[in-house]
Amino acid sequence: MAEETKPELPTKMEETEEGTVLFNVPFPTGKDLSGLKEMAPIIIKQPYHIEYIHSYGQDSPFFAGLANGRFLVCREPQTGYTYANPRGHDMYTGRETEWVEIPAEGRVHAFTVCHFGSEEFLPECPFVLALIEFEGVDTLFLGRLLGVDPAEASVDWIGMKVKPRYRRLSKFKPTDVYFVPAE
Protein backbone atom coordinates (compact mmCIF):
# COMPACT_ATOMS: atom_id res chain seq x y z
CA MET A 1 0.00 0.00 0.00
CA ALA A 2 1.38 3.39 -0.98
CA GLU A 3 2.19 5.68 1.92
CA GLU A 4 0.12 8.81 1.97
CA THR A 5 2.26 11.96 1.61
CA LYS A 6 1.22 15.29 3.08
CA PRO A 7 1.55 18.32 0.79
CA GLU A 8 4.59 20.42 1.71
CA LEU A 9 3.82 23.49 3.79
CA PRO A 10 4.93 26.78 2.23
CA THR A 11 8.07 28.21 3.86
CA LYS A 12 8.56 31.21 1.58
CA MET A 13 6.31 34.25 1.21
CA GLU A 14 5.39 35.23 -2.31
CA GLU A 15 7.42 38.18 -3.64
CA THR A 16 5.29 40.96 -5.09
CA GLU A 17 6.15 44.30 -6.63
CA GLU A 18 3.79 46.79 -5.01
CA GLY A 19 6.55 48.20 -2.80
CA THR A 20 5.46 50.83 -0.35
CA VAL A 21 5.12 54.59 -0.14
CA LEU A 22 8.24 56.16 1.38
CA PHE A 23 8.63 59.91 1.81
CA ASN A 24 12.12 60.15 3.20
CA VAL A 25 15.36 58.22 3.70
CA PRO A 26 18.18 58.63 6.22
CA PHE A 27 20.91 61.15 5.34
CA PRO A 28 24.06 62.32 7.19
CA THR A 29 23.06 65.16 9.53
CA GLY A 30 26.56 66.67 9.72
CA LYS A 31 28.81 68.12 7.01
CA ASP A 32 30.74 64.89 6.44
CA LEU A 33 29.41 63.46 3.13
CA SER A 34 32.10 60.81 2.64
CA GLY A 35 29.73 58.04 3.72
CA LEU A 36 27.42 58.69 0.74
CA LYS A 37 29.65 56.56 -1.53
CA GLU A 38 28.50 53.59 0.55
CA MET A 39 24.81 54.46 0.32
CA ALA A 40 22.49 51.75 -1.03
CA PRO A 41 20.73 52.68 -4.29
CA ILE A 42 17.25 54.21 -4.20
CA ILE A 43 14.96 52.13 -6.38
CA ILE A 44 11.57 53.48 -7.44
CA LYS A 45 8.77 52.19 -9.62
CA GLN A 46 8.18 53.81 -13.03
CA PRO A 47 4.82 52.76 -14.53
CA TYR A 48 4.66 52.54 -18.32
CA HIS A 49 1.42 51.77 -20.12
CA ILE A 50 0.64 52.37 -23.78
CA GLU A 51 -2.12 51.47 -26.19
CA TYR A 52 -1.06 51.43 -29.83
CA ILE A 53 -3.37 52.02 -32.79
CA HIS A 54 -1.98 49.14 -34.86
CA SER A 55 -3.01 48.71 -38.52
CA TYR A 56 -2.60 45.42 -40.35
CA GLY A 57 -2.38 47.46 -43.55
CA GLN A 58 -2.24 45.34 -46.73
CA ASP A 59 -2.40 42.18 -44.59
CA SER A 60 -5.90 43.06 -43.31
CA PRO A 61 -7.86 40.69 -45.63
CA PHE A 62 -6.17 37.75 -43.89
CA PHE A 63 -7.79 38.71 -40.58
CA ALA A 64 -11.12 39.41 -42.28
CA GLY A 65 -10.85 35.89 -43.71
CA LEU A 66 -10.21 34.29 -40.31
CA ALA A 67 -13.19 36.16 -38.86
CA ASN A 68 -15.30 34.44 -41.53
CA GLY A 69 -13.75 31.01 -41.05
CA ARG A 70 -11.70 31.21 -44.24
CA PHE A 71 -7.94 30.83 -44.55
CA LEU A 72 -6.12 33.02 -47.07
CA VAL A 73 -2.58 32.60 -48.34
CA CYS A 74 -0.55 34.78 -50.72
CA ARG A 75 0.58 33.54 -54.13
CA GLU A 76 2.93 35.01 -56.70
CA PRO A 77 0.67 34.84 -59.78
CA GLN A 78 3.38 33.87 -62.30
CA THR A 79 5.74 31.57 -60.39
CA GLY A 80 3.05 30.16 -58.10
CA TYR A 81 5.31 30.54 -55.02
CA THR A 82 2.91 30.59 -52.09
CA TYR A 83 3.30 32.03 -48.60
CA ALA A 84 1.29 30.68 -45.68
CA ASN A 85 1.61 34.10 -44.03
CA PRO A 86 0.27 37.25 -45.63
CA ARG A 87 2.89 38.97 -47.74
CA GLY A 88 2.07 41.75 -50.18
CA HIS A 89 5.07 41.26 -52.42
CA ASP A 90 7.05 38.15 -53.38
CA MET A 91 10.64 38.05 -52.10
CA TYR A 92 12.03 36.55 -55.32
CA THR A 93 10.31 38.42 -58.15
CA GLY A 94 9.35 41.55 -56.21
CA ARG A 95 5.88 41.31 -57.79
CA GLU A 96 2.61 41.77 -55.96
CA THR A 97 1.01 38.60 -54.64
CA GLU A 98 -2.66 37.62 -54.89
CA TRP A 99 -5.00 36.17 -52.26
CA VAL A 100 -5.88 32.49 -52.54
CA GLU A 101 -8.11 30.50 -50.20
CA ILE A 102 -6.93 27.08 -48.95
CA PRO A 103 -8.59 24.54 -46.61
CA ALA A 104 -5.71 24.97 -44.08
CA GLU A 105 -5.51 21.25 -43.45
CA GLY A 106 -1.89 20.30 -42.99
CA ARG A 107 0.75 18.65 -40.88
CA VAL A 108 2.87 19.60 -37.88
CA HIS A 109 6.34 20.62 -39.13
CA ALA A 110 7.82 21.57 -35.73
CA PHE A 111 6.40 22.32 -32.29
CA THR A 112 7.11 23.03 -28.64
CA VAL A 113 5.27 23.04 -25.33
CA CYS A 114 5.78 26.37 -23.53
CA HIS A 115 5.86 25.84 -19.76
CA PHE A 116 6.93 29.44 -19.20
CA GLY A 117 6.58 32.50 -21.37
CA SER A 118 6.08 36.20 -21.64
CA GLU A 119 3.97 37.92 -19.02
CA GLU A 120 1.00 38.24 -21.37
CA PHE A 121 0.83 34.48 -21.98
CA LEU A 122 1.86 33.13 -18.55
CA PRO A 123 -1.74 32.34 -17.54
CA GLU A 124 -2.07 30.12 -20.63
CA CYS A 125 0.98 27.91 -19.85
CA PRO A 126 1.46 25.14 -20.73
CA PHE A 127 0.47 25.75 -24.35
CA VAL A 128 1.64 24.22 -27.62
CA LEU A 129 3.16 26.28 -30.44
CA ALA A 130 3.40 24.62 -33.82
CA LEU A 131 4.65 25.46 -37.29
CA ILE A 132 2.15 24.00 -39.74
CA GLU A 133 2.93 22.94 -43.32
CA PHE A 134 0.22 22.92 -45.98
CA GLU A 135 0.23 20.99 -49.25
CA GLY A 136 1.11 23.28 -52.16
CA VAL A 137 2.29 26.09 -49.88
CA ASP A 138 6.01 26.91 -49.80
CA THR A 139 6.28 28.37 -46.29
CA LEU A 140 4.96 27.55 -42.83
CA PHE A 141 2.33 29.00 -40.50
CA LEU A 142 2.78 29.58 -36.76
CA GLY A 143 -0.24 28.66 -34.68
CA ARG A 144 -1.48 27.08 -31.47
CA LEU A 145 -2.04 23.33 -31.39
CA LEU A 146 -4.83 22.05 -29.13
CA GLY A 147 -6.08 18.57 -28.42
CA VAL A 148 -2.67 17.10 -27.57
CA ASP A 149 -1.44 16.44 -24.02
CA PRO A 150 1.32 18.93 -23.13
CA ALA A 151 2.76 16.40 -20.67
CA GLU A 152 3.23 13.86 -23.47
CA ALA A 153 5.38 15.93 -25.87
CA SER A 154 7.13 13.77 -28.43
CA VAL A 155 9.03 14.29 -31.66
CA ASP A 156 6.48 11.84 -33.09
CA TRP A 157 4.00 14.74 -33.11
CA ILE A 158 5.90 16.01 -36.14
CA GLY A 159 4.04 14.91 -39.25
CA MET A 160 0.71 14.72 -37.40
CA LYS A 161 -2.27 15.64 -39.62
CA VAL A 162 -4.07 18.72 -38.30
CA LYS A 163 -7.15 20.74 -39.25
CA PRO A 164 -8.07 24.33 -38.50
CA ARG A 165 -10.65 25.61 -36.07
CA TYR A 166 -11.85 29.19 -36.02
CA ARG A 167 -12.90 31.28 -33.08
CA ARG A 168 -16.56 32.20 -33.28
CA LEU A 169 -15.88 35.52 -31.54
CA SER A 170 -12.99 36.99 -33.50
CA LYS A 171 -10.21 38.89 -31.83
CA PHE A 172 -8.61 39.84 -35.16
CA LYS A 173 -5.41 38.13 -34.14
CA PRO A 174 -3.61 35.21 -35.81
CA THR A 175 -4.99 33.01 -33.02
CA ASP A 176 -8.46 33.41 -34.55
CA VAL A 177 -7.39 30.18 -36.23
CA TYR A 178 -5.84 27.30 -34.30
CA PHE A 179 -5.21 23.67 -35.06
CA VAL A 180 -6.35 20.31 -33.72
CA PRO A 181 -5.45 16.72 -34.68
CA ALA A 182 -7.36 15.70 -37.82
CA GLU A 183 -7.61 12.01 -36.97
Partner: protein, 452 residues
Protein backbone atom coordinates in the same frame (compact mmCIF):
# COMPACT_ATOMS: atom_id res chain seq x y z
CA UNK B 1 40.64 48.66 -47.06
CA UNK B 2 43.20 49.49 -44.36
CA UNK B 3 44.37 47.00 -41.72
CA UNK B 4 42.34 47.18 -38.50
CA UNK B 5 43.77 46.30 -35.09
CA UNK B 6 41.77 45.36 -31.97
CA UNK B 7 44.04 46.76 -29.31
CA UNK B 8 42.21 46.62 -26.01
CA UNK B 9 38.95 45.82 -24.26
CA UNK B 10 37.08 45.78 -21.00
CA UNK B 11 34.04 44.00 -19.56
CA UNK B 12 31.95 44.78 -16.48
CA UNK B 13 31.21 41.67 -14.45
CA UNK B 14 27.92 40.37 -15.85
CA UNK B 15 25.35 39.86 -13.17
CA UNK B 16 21.61 39.53 -12.64
CA UNK B 17 21.15 43.13 -11.49
CA UNK B 18 23.31 46.21 -10.98
CA UNK B 19 21.09 48.57 -8.98
CA UNK B 20 24.25 50.20 -7.57
CA UNK B 21 25.00 52.01 -10.84
CA UNK B 22 23.25 53.59 -13.82
CA UNK B 23 24.03 52.20 -17.28
CA UNK B 24 26.53 54.96 -18.24
CA UNK B 25 28.47 54.24 -15.03
CA UNK B 26 28.53 50.50 -15.81
CA UNK B 27 29.96 51.25 -19.28
CA UNK B 28 32.52 53.48 -17.55
CA UNK B 29 33.84 50.40 -15.69
CA UNK B 30 34.52 48.58 -18.98
CA UNK B 31 35.97 51.75 -20.53
CA UNK B 32 38.33 52.42 -17.61
CA UNK B 33 39.53 48.81 -17.74
CA UNK B 34 40.29 49.01 -21.47
CA UNK B 35 42.22 52.26 -20.98
CA UNK B 36 44.11 50.99 -17.93
CA UNK B 37 45.17 47.95 -19.96
CA UNK B 38 46.66 50.32 -22.55
CA UNK B 39 48.30 52.31 -19.78
CA UNK B 40 46.36 55.47 -20.65
CA UNK B 41 44.33 57.99 -18.67
CA UNK B 42 41.09 59.38 -20.07
CA UNK B 43 42.53 62.83 -21.05
CA UNK B 44 45.31 61.12 -23.05
CA UNK B 45 42.84 58.81 -24.80
CA UNK B 46 40.46 61.69 -25.51
CA UNK B 47 43.25 63.43 -27.48
CA UNK B 48 43.66 60.34 -29.68
CA UNK B 49 40.23 58.72 -30.12
CA UNK B 50 38.38 59.88 -33.26
CA UNK B 51 34.89 58.68 -32.34
CA UNK B 52 32.71 55.88 -31.06
CA UNK B 53 29.96 53.40 -31.94
CA UNK B 54 27.35 52.57 -29.31
CA UNK B 55 25.48 49.29 -28.96
CA UNK B 56 22.31 48.57 -27.03
CA UNK B 57 19.35 46.50 -28.11
CA UNK B 58 16.18 47.58 -26.46
CA UNK B 59 14.57 50.94 -25.95
CA UNK B 60 12.04 49.07 -23.79
CA UNK B 61 14.62 47.74 -21.34
CA UNK B 62 16.39 51.11 -21.25
CA UNK B 63 13.14 53.12 -21.04
CA UNK B 64 15.34 55.96 -22.22
CA UNK B 65 15.60 57.02 -25.83
CA UNK B 66 19.03 58.24 -26.96
CA UNK B 67 20.64 56.28 -24.16
CA UNK B 68 23.78 56.16 -26.33
CA UNK B 69 24.49 59.85 -25.99
CA UNK B 70 24.17 59.56 -22.22
CA UNK B 71 27.07 57.11 -22.26
CA UNK B 72 29.09 59.28 -24.65
CA UNK B 73 28.44 62.23 -22.32
CA UNK B 74 29.26 60.33 -19.09
CA UNK B 75 32.51 58.91 -20.52
CA UNK B 76 33.55 62.46 -21.40
CA UNK B 77 33.72 61.79 -25.13
CA UNK B 78 31.55 64.68 -26.40
CA UNK B 79 31.82 66.34 -28.92
CA UNK B 80 33.40 63.41 -30.84
CA UNK B 81 31.28 61.68 -33.53
CA UNK B 82 29.16 58.71 -32.48
CA UNK B 83 26.10 56.72 -33.46
CA UNK B 84 24.05 53.90 -32.03
CA UNK B 85 23.49 50.59 -33.83
CA UNK B 86 20.71 48.08 -33.19
CA UNK B 87 20.18 44.61 -34.58
CA UNK B 88 18.64 42.43 -31.86
CA UNK B 89 21.00 39.89 -30.31
CA UNK B 90 23.65 40.73 -32.91
CA UNK B 91 23.81 44.37 -31.84
CA UNK B 92 27.23 43.96 -30.21
CA UNK B 93 28.66 42.11 -33.22
CA UNK B 94 27.28 44.77 -35.56
CA UNK B 95 28.81 47.49 -33.34
CA UNK B 96 32.22 45.82 -33.57
CA UNK B 97 31.91 45.64 -37.37
CA UNK B 98 30.81 49.27 -37.66
CA UNK B 99 33.91 50.23 -35.67
CA UNK B 100 35.93 48.07 -38.05
CA UNK B 101 34.43 49.87 -41.03
CA UNK B 102 35.21 53.29 -39.54
CA UNK B 103 38.89 52.30 -39.32
CA UNK B 104 39.13 50.26 -42.54
CA UNK B 105 37.57 53.06 -44.59
CA UNK B 106 39.99 55.67 -43.30
CA UNK B 107 37.23 57.65 -41.57
CA UNK B 108 38.87 57.14 -38.18
CA UNK B 109 42.27 56.06 -36.84
CA UNK B 110 41.04 55.14 -33.36
CA UNK B 111 37.45 54.08 -32.65
CA UNK B 112 35.89 53.03 -29.37
CA UNK B 113 33.02 50.49 -29.53
CA UNK B 114 30.92 50.32 -26.37
CA UNK B 115 27.76 48.46 -25.51
CA UNK B 116 25.47 47.68 -22.62
CA UNK B 117 22.10 46.35 -21.54
CA UNK B 118 20.34 46.65 -18.21
CA UNK B 119 17.67 43.95 -18.24
CA UNK B 120 16.98 43.83 -14.51
CA UNK B 121 14.65 46.84 -14.54
CA UNK B 122 11.67 44.62 -15.32
CA UNK B 123 10.83 41.13 -14.07
CA UNK B 124 11.81 38.09 -16.13
CA UNK B 125 8.32 37.61 -17.58
CA UNK B 126 8.10 41.20 -18.77
CA UNK B 127 11.66 40.85 -20.09
CA UNK B 128 10.56 37.83 -22.13
CA UNK B 129 7.75 39.97 -23.50
CA UNK B 130 10.15 42.79 -24.47
CA UNK B 131 12.45 40.32 -26.21
CA UNK B 132 9.50 38.72 -28.01
CA UNK B 133 8.69 42.14 -29.48
CA UNK B 134 11.69 41.30 -31.69
CA UNK B 135 9.38 38.87 -33.50
CA UNK B 136 6.63 39.98 -35.90
CA UNK B 137 4.06 41.68 -33.65
CA UNK B 138 1.23 40.98 -36.10
CA UNK B 139 1.84 37.26 -36.69
CA UNK B 140 4.39 35.81 -34.23
CA UNK B 141 4.06 37.64 -30.94
CA UNK B 142 0.25 37.27 -30.53
CA UNK B 143 0.40 33.47 -30.91
CA UNK B 144 2.45 33.20 -27.71
CA UNK B 145 5.52 35.38 -28.15
CA UNK B 146 8.43 33.69 -26.36
CA UNK B 147 11.91 33.31 -27.79
CA UNK B 148 12.65 30.08 -25.94
CA UNK B 149 9.52 28.69 -27.61
CA UNK B 150 10.73 29.73 -31.06
CA UNK B 151 14.12 28.06 -30.51
CA UNK B 152 12.47 24.96 -29.07
CA UNK B 153 10.52 24.57 -32.34
CA UNK B 154 13.83 24.65 -34.23
CA UNK B 155 15.11 21.94 -31.87
CA UNK B 156 12.22 19.56 -32.48
CA UNK B 157 12.79 19.89 -36.22
CA UNK B 158 16.56 19.36 -35.78
CA UNK B 159 15.80 16.24 -33.73
CA UNK B 160 13.36 14.95 -36.34
CA UNK B 161 15.63 15.59 -39.33
CA UNK B 162 18.97 14.52 -37.88
CA UNK B 163 18.31 12.49 -34.74
CA UNK B 164 19.87 15.15 -32.49
CA UNK B 165 19.20 14.40 -28.81
CA UNK B 166 18.60 16.57 -25.72
CA UNK B 167 21.54 14.72 -24.11
CA UNK B 168 23.85 16.01 -26.86
CA UNK B 169 22.54 19.51 -26.13
CA UNK B 170 23.31 18.96 -22.44
CA UNK B 171 26.99 18.48 -23.36
CA UNK B 172 27.02 22.09 -24.58
CA UNK B 173 25.55 23.28 -21.28
CA UNK B 174 28.10 21.27 -19.26
CA UNK B 175 31.00 22.55 -21.38
CA UNK B 176 30.04 26.22 -21.25
CA UNK B 177 29.12 26.25 -17.55
CA UNK B 178 32.35 24.41 -16.66
CA UNK B 179 34.51 26.76 -18.76
CA UNK B 180 32.88 29.70 -17.00
CA UNK B 181 33.96 28.42 -13.58
CA UNK B 182 37.42 29.74 -14.56
CA UNK B 183 36.09 33.06 -15.89
CA UNK B 184 35.55 35.64 -13.12
CA UNK B 185 33.45 37.81 -15.48
CA UNK B 186 30.82 35.09 -15.92
CA UNK B 187 27.43 35.37 -14.26
CA UNK B 188 27.09 31.64 -13.54
CA UNK B 189 29.66 29.19 -12.19
CA UNK B 190 28.21 25.67 -12.25
CA UNK B 191 29.53 22.13 -12.54
CA UNK B 192 26.80 20.07 -14.15
CA UNK B 193 25.96 16.57 -15.32
CA UNK B 194 23.67 15.52 -18.17
CA UNK B 195 21.08 14.61 -15.52
CA UNK B 196 21.29 18.09 -13.94
CA UNK B 197 20.55 19.70 -17.30
CA UNK B 198 17.72 17.34 -18.22
CA UNK B 199 16.15 17.46 -14.74
CA UNK B 200 16.14 21.27 -14.54
CA UNK B 201 12.68 22.88 -14.88
CA UNK B 202 11.29 22.52 -18.42
CA UNK B 203 10.91 25.90 -20.12
CA UNK B 204 9.94 25.04 -23.70
CA UNK B 205 10.14 21.35 -24.55
CA UNK B 206 12.81 20.05 -24.86
CA UNK B 207 14.77 23.08 -23.59
CA UNK B 208 15.26 23.25 -19.81
CA UNK B 209 16.40 26.20 -17.76
CA UNK B 210 20.02 25.00 -18.13
CA UNK B 211 19.76 24.99 -21.94
CA UNK B 212 18.99 28.72 -22.02
CA UNK B 213 21.01 31.86 -21.28
CA UNK B 214 19.84 34.25 -18.58
CA UNK B 215 19.13 37.98 -18.60
CA UNK B 216 21.89 40.23 -17.30
CA UNK B 217 23.09 43.72 -16.57
CA UNK B 218 26.47 44.47 -18.07
CA UNK B 219 28.70 46.43 -20.41
CA UNK B 220 31.73 45.83 -22.64
CA UNK B 221 33.96 47.89 -24.90
CA UNK B 222 36.80 47.50 -27.38
CA UNK B 223 39.31 49.92 -28.86
CA UNK B 224 40.00 49.52 -32.60
CA UNK B 225 42.80 51.28 -34.47
CA UNK B 226 44.51 51.68 -37.84
CA UNK B 227 48.31 51.40 -38.12
CA UNK B 228 48.48 55.17 -37.61
CA UNK B 229 46.10 54.94 -34.65
CA UNK B 230 48.16 52.15 -33.13
CA UNK B 231 51.28 54.32 -33.45
CA UNK B 232 49.52 57.19 -31.68
CA UNK B 233 48.32 54.92 -28.86
CA UNK B 234 51.80 53.40 -28.46
CA UNK B 235 53.41 56.82 -28.36
CA UNK B 236 51.01 57.99 -25.65
CA UNK B 237 51.34 54.74 -23.67
CA UNK B 238 55.11 54.63 -24.08
CA UNK B 239 55.05 50.92 -24.87
CA UNK B 240 54.58 48.49 -27.73
CA UNK B 241 51.09 47.01 -27.86
CA UNK B 242 50.32 43.41 -28.91
CA UNK B 243 49.14 43.08 -32.53
CA UNK B 244 45.70 41.54 -32.90
CA UNK B 245 44.28 42.19 -36.36
CA UNK B 246 40.70 41.90 -37.56
CA UNK B 247 41.28 40.04 -40.83
CA UNK B 248 37.74 39.56 -42.02
CA UNK B 249 34.12 40.39 -41.32
CA UNK B 250 30.94 38.83 -42.67
CA UNK B 251 27.25 39.40 -42.16
CA UNK B 252 24.08 37.65 -43.26
CA UNK B 253 20.32 38.08 -42.92
CA UNK B 254 17.14 36.06 -43.14
CA UNK B 255 13.37 36.52 -43.10
CA UNK B 256 11.96 37.96 -39.87
CA UNK B 257 9.26 35.31 -39.53
CA UNK B 258 10.80 31.91 -39.00
CA UNK B 259 7.77 30.45 -40.81
CA UNK B 260 8.74 32.37 -43.97
CA UNK B 261 12.20 30.80 -44.29
CA UNK B 262 12.48 29.29 -47.74
CA UNK B 263 13.04 25.64 -48.49
CA UNK B 264 15.72 25.89 -51.15
CA UNK B 265 16.57 23.24 -53.69
CA UNK B 266 19.77 21.20 -53.56
CA UNK B 267 21.09 23.13 -56.57
CA UNK B 268 20.44 26.49 -54.89
CA UNK B 269 22.19 25.27 -51.74
CA UNK B 270 25.25 24.22 -53.74
CA UNK B 271 25.30 27.49 -55.60
CA UNK B 272 24.80 29.93 -52.71
CA UNK B 273 25.38 28.27 -49.38
CA UNK B 274 28.03 25.55 -49.68
CA UNK B 275 31.32 26.40 -47.96
CA UNK B 276 34.41 25.87 -50.16
CA UNK B 277 35.78 23.04 -47.99
CA UNK B 278 32.44 21.22 -48.34
CA UNK B 279 32.78 21.23 -52.12
CA UNK B 280 34.02 17.65 -52.37
CA UNK B 281 32.42 14.63 -54.01
CA UNK B 282 31.90 13.09 -50.57
CA UNK B 283 30.14 16.11 -49.05
CA UNK B 284 28.05 16.66 -52.17
CA UNK B 285 26.93 13.05 -51.93
CA UNK B 286 26.21 13.52 -48.21
CA UNK B 287 23.99 16.54 -48.92
CA UNK B 288 22.35 14.89 -51.93
CA UNK B 289 21.34 12.09 -49.57
CA UNK B 290 19.93 14.57 -47.02
CA UNK B 291 17.82 16.16 -49.76
CA UNK B 292 16.61 12.79 -50.94
CA UNK B 293 15.39 12.17 -47.40
CA UNK B 294 13.41 15.42 -47.31
CA UNK B 295 15.95 17.94 -45.95
CA UNK B 296 15.28 21.50 -47.14
CA UNK B 297 17.53 24.50 -46.60
CA UNK B 298 17.54 26.48 -44.42
CA UNK B 299 14.15 25.39 -43.09
CA UNK B 300 13.75 26.15 -39.40
CA UNK B 301 16.66 23.95 -38.29
CA UNK B 302 19.47 25.99 -39.85
CA UNK B 303 20.55 29.62 -39.94
CA UNK B 304 21.22 30.75 -43.49
CA UNK B 305 22.32 34.16 -42.13
CA UNK B 306 24.99 32.45 -40.02
CA UNK B 307 26.21 30.44 -42.97
CA UNK B 308 26.43 33.52 -45.21
CA UNK B 309 28.20 35.55 -42.50
CA UNK B 310 30.73 32.74 -42.05
CA UNK B 311 31.25 32.31 -45.77
CA UNK B 312 31.95 36.01 -46.26
CA UNK B 313 34.24 36.31 -43.22
CA UNK B 314 36.22 33.16 -44.13
CA UNK B 315 36.69 34.35 -47.71
CA UNK B 316 38.06 37.69 -46.52
CA UNK B 317 40.35 36.10 -43.92
CA UNK B 318 41.53 33.35 -46.29
CA UNK B 319 40.10 30.49 -44.20
CA UNK B 320 39.36 27.25 -46.04
CA UNK B 321 38.88 24.63 -43.29
CA UNK B 322 37.40 26.48 -40.28
CA UNK B 323 37.61 23.59 -37.79
CA UNK B 324 41.37 23.25 -38.30
CA UNK B 325 42.24 26.84 -39.18
CA UNK B 326 40.49 28.50 -36.24
CA UNK B 327 42.07 28.04 -32.80
CA UNK B 328 38.83 28.92 -31.00
CA UNK B 329 35.34 30.29 -31.60
CA UNK B 330 33.23 32.49 -29.33
CA UNK B 331 29.71 31.99 -30.67
CA UNK B 332 26.23 33.13 -29.74
CA UNK B 333 24.94 30.22 -27.61
CA UNK B 334 21.70 31.80 -26.40
CA UNK B 335 20.54 28.17 -26.35
CA UNK B 336 22.51 24.91 -26.26
CA UNK B 337 20.62 23.99 -29.40
CA UNK B 338 21.62 27.16 -31.22
CA UNK B 339 25.28 26.40 -30.44
CA UNK B 340 24.75 23.05 -32.19
CA UNK B 341 22.98 24.73 -35.12
CA UNK B 342 25.83 27.25 -35.33
CA UNK B 343 28.54 24.56 -35.46
CA UNK B 344 26.89 23.56 -38.72
CA UNK B 345 26.39 27.09 -40.08
CA UNK B 346 30.04 27.93 -39.38
CA UNK B 347 31.20 24.73 -41.07
CA UNK B 348 32.82 23.18 -37.98
CA UNK B 349 30.85 20.14 -39.11
CA UNK B 350 28.29 19.52 -41.87
CA UNK B 351 24.58 20.24 -41.57
CA UNK B 352 23.04 17.42 -39.58
CA UNK B 353 26.26 16.51 -37.76
CA UNK B 354 26.00 19.11 -34.98
CA UNK B 355 24.60 16.75 -32.33
CA UNK B 356 27.38 14.14 -32.52
CA UNK B 357 29.92 16.98 -32.90
CA UNK B 358 28.70 18.51 -29.60
CA UNK B 359 29.32 15.25 -27.75
CA UNK B 360 32.58 14.40 -29.54
CA UNK B 361 34.85 16.57 -27.41
CA UNK B 362 36.22 18.52 -30.39
CA UNK B 363 34.74 21.81 -29.12
CA UNK B 364 35.91 21.36 -25.50
CA UNK B 365 38.91 23.00 -23.81
CA UNK B 366 42.06 20.96 -23.33
CA UNK B 367 43.13 20.53 -19.72
CA UNK B 368 39.65 20.92 -18.19
CA UNK B 369 37.92 17.98 -16.49
CA UNK B 370 34.27 18.08 -17.51
CA UNK B 371 33.36 14.80 -15.81
CA UNK B 372 32.39 13.45 -19.23
CA UNK B 373 33.72 10.57 -21.26
CA UNK B 374 34.67 12.41 -24.46
CA UNK B 375 35.69 10.21 -27.39
CA UNK B 376 37.86 12.80 -29.16
CA UNK B 377 40.56 15.31 -28.28
CA UNK B 378 39.80 19.05 -28.41
CA UNK B 379 40.33 20.51 -31.90
CA UNK B 380 38.73 23.96 -31.82
CA UNK B 381 37.38 25.05 -28.41
CA UNK B 382 33.98 26.71 -28.75
CA UNK B 383 33.02 29.28 -26.13
CA UNK B 384 36.11 28.85 -23.97
CA UNK B 385 34.81 31.84 -21.95
CA UNK B 386 31.56 30.06 -21.07
CA UNK B 387 29.52 31.76 -23.77
CA UNK B 388 26.17 33.42 -23.25
CA UNK B 389 24.79 30.42 -21.38
CA UNK B 390 27.17 30.91 -18.46
CA UNK B 391 28.52 34.46 -18.89
CA UNK B 392 25.08 36.00 -19.27
CA UNK B 393 23.57 37.95 -22.16
CA UNK B 394 23.23 41.70 -21.58
CA UNK B 395 22.32 41.99 -25.24
CA UNK B 396 24.11 45.16 -26.37
CA UNK B 397 27.28 44.13 -24.53
CA UNK B 398 27.39 40.47 -25.55
CA UNK B 399 28.97 40.70 -29.00
CA UNK B 400 31.60 43.09 -27.63
CA UNK B 401 32.28 40.79 -24.68
CA UNK B 402 33.10 38.07 -27.21
CA UNK B 403 35.49 40.48 -28.95
CA UNK B 404 37.22 41.32 -25.66
CA UNK B 405 37.69 37.66 -24.74
CA UNK B 406 39.00 36.96 -28.26
CA UNK B 407 41.48 39.84 -28.03
CA UNK B 408 42.78 38.49 -24.70
CA UNK B 409 43.05 34.96 -26.12
CA UNK B 410 45.10 36.20 -29.07
CA UNK B 411 47.27 38.45 -26.89
CA UNK B 412 47.89 35.43 -24.66
CA UNK B 413 46.74 37.50 -21.67
CA UNK B 414 43.83 35.38 -20.38
CA UNK B 415 45.77 34.51 -17.20
CA UNK B 416 46.30 38.21 -16.47
CA UNK B 417 42.67 39.16 -17.00
CA UNK B 418 40.97 36.05 -15.56
CA UNK B 419 43.43 35.57 -12.70
CA UNK B 420 44.20 32.02 -13.84
CA UNK B 421 45.51 30.48 -17.08
CA UNK B 422 43.03 27.59 -17.44
CA UNK B 423 41.01 29.12 -20.26
CA UNK B 424 43.99 30.32 -22.30
CA UNK B 425 43.78 28.41 -25.59
CA UNK B 426 47.36 27.19 -26.15
CA UNK B 427 49.15 29.20 -28.82
CA UNK B 428 45.95 30.88 -30.04
CA UNK B 429 46.69 32.51 -33.39
CA UNK B 430 43.28 32.91 -34.99
CA UNK B 431 39.76 33.05 -33.58
CA UNK B 432 36.22 33.80 -34.71
CA UNK B 433 33.45 35.71 -32.93
CA UNK B 434 29.83 35.16 -33.93
CA UNK B 435 26.88 37.36 -32.95
CA UNK B 436 23.28 36.38 -33.74
CA UNK B 437 19.89 38.08 -33.68
CA UNK B 438 16.25 37.05 -33.59
CA UNK B 439 15.48 33.61 -34.96
CA UNK B 440 18.57 34.02 -37.16
CA UNK B 441 17.71 37.34 -38.81
CA UNK B 442 21.04 39.20 -38.50
CA UNK B 443 24.26 37.28 -37.95
CA UNK B 444 27.80 38.63 -37.87
CA UNK B 445 31.09 36.71 -37.95
CA UNK B 446 34.43 38.46 -37.44
CA UNK B 447 37.89 36.89 -37.63
CA UNK B 448 40.70 38.09 -35.34
CA UNK B 449 44.34 37.05 -35.68
CA UNK B 450 47.53 37.53 -33.75
CA UNK B 451 50.16 39.25 -35.88
CA UNK B 452 53.72 38.24 -34.99
Amino acid sequence: MRPVYAVSGGVSKFTKARPDKTFPAIVKEAYDYALADLGLEHPQFFEIVDGTVCSYFSDHFARQLMAGIMVQDYLGLCPKPSHRVEGGGATGGICFQEGYKAIASGYMDVCLCYGFETMSHVNTWKGNEFIALASDVSFDYPVGGFYSGYYAMMVTRHMKEFGTTPEQMAYVSIKNHMNATFNPYAQKHMRLTVEDVRNAPMVAWPLTRLDICVMSDGAACTVLASEEGLAKLEKAAGKRLPRVRVTGIGRGTDAMRMADRPHQSFEQFLRYNLLPHEDTAESRAYYRDLWDRGFRYPGVHSFRAGRMASKEAYARAGIYDPLHELDFVELHDAYTSSEIQTYEDMGLCRYGEGGPFAASGKAFMPGVDYGLDLPEEPVCPVNPSGGLIACGHPVGATGLMQAVFAIWQLQGTIAKHFGNPTLQVPNARRGAIHSHAGTGTYVTVSILEREE
